[in-house]
């Protein structure tokens, strides 16, 4: 995939998709690229699916939302259903392999549909709390929209104050990022 991308990231409230979007776009911005990120919002968000729309490009970015994403990442059953509308025939659709009961809801028209074991990897290999960083890795792996080092800098900027207290956390996060990238590359 090229250096620009339209990404729809969707999950449950607690899964941290908005902070993933935030870190990725900040990384791209720091990289001197055009980046645009807009969350969904509405009056009934409590418990609703949280969607982050991210665009990164070398050119000025058009509409903040888009019809069809280059990559969709869905982290819950409801997110799988909600994000179908952003799938076109060039879209890579990524979902977590642990999500149950969505077999019939997976998009039929996507370029690729990938199941990655992000929840499992985070839980078993790393720590459940870095689940969203694994996802961030997956996004970067799938799109190449930001450089890994930039991504690490952005994580550092966001979580640096925590890393100072517990340097092991840094390692854990960076590991998560890399594992995420690997997960998706294995599948691509």
């Amino acid at each position: 995939m090229a250096k620009g991308a339209k990404i729809a990231l969707a999950g449950e409230g607690g899964q941290g998709v908005q902070s993933v979007a935030m870190i990725i776009t900040e990384a791209a911005y720091e990289d001197g690229r055009e980046a645009l990120y807009i969350p969904n919002f509405g009056v009934e968000q409590r418990g609703g699916v949280s969607v982050a729309y991210v665009q990164i490009s070398d050119e000025p970015i058009g509409s903040p939302k888009f019809k069809t994403a280059d990559i969709v990442i869905a982290l819950s059953d409801r997110a799988v259903r909600r994000t179908q509308r952003y799938v076109g025939d060039k879209t890579i659709f990524v979902y977590d392999a642990d999500i149950e009961g969505v077999e019939d809801d997976l998009p039929k028209n996507a370029a690729k549909v990938l199941a990655i074991p992000a929840i499992k990897v985070a839980k078993d290999e790393l720590h459940p709390r870095v689940f969203n960083i694994v996802i961030m890795g997956a996004v970067i792996g799938a799109t190449g929209v930001v450089d890994v080092d930039r991504a690490k800098q952005a994580i550092e900027k966001k979580l640096g104050y925590k890393f100072e207290k517990d340097p092991k956390l840094r390692e854990l996060n960076f590991k998560a990022l890399e594992r995420g990238m690997e997960l998706v590359k294995e599948e691509l």
Binding site: E12, G13, G14, G47, S76
Partner: protein, 88 residues
């Protein structure tokens, strides 16, 4: 009309604790109010994918006082007193 919510049921002789996972949002209000501190987090997930609650986490057993039922803003708990036993 049968209820669309299937409870997870816990029984301890004094009472029956029904937890409707599709209603429980895992807010923890019941946890704080249980007089015997028996409510804790369950492995079962609630309606928002966060842990639901269950009794049996404290030193004492549920006494079926019904406070948790009363304070749950989502009507996710139903307590049945097993009073018939003694009375019978």
């Amino acid at each position: 009309m049968s209820s669309p919510w299937k409870p997870v049921t816990y029984e301890n002789g004094k009472g029956i604790f029904h937890l409707f996972t599709n209603l429980c949002k895992g807010c923890g209000l019941c946890v704080e109010k249980c007089p015997v501190n028996t409510i804790g987090w369950s492995k079962k997930l609630g309606v928002y994918g966060t842990p639901a609650v269950e009794p049996g986490h404290g030193e004492k057993d549920c006494i079926a006082c019904g406070i948790c039922e009363l304070v749950c803003p989502d009507c996710a708990i139903k307590i049945e007193k097993v009073k018939d036993k003694k009375e019978a």
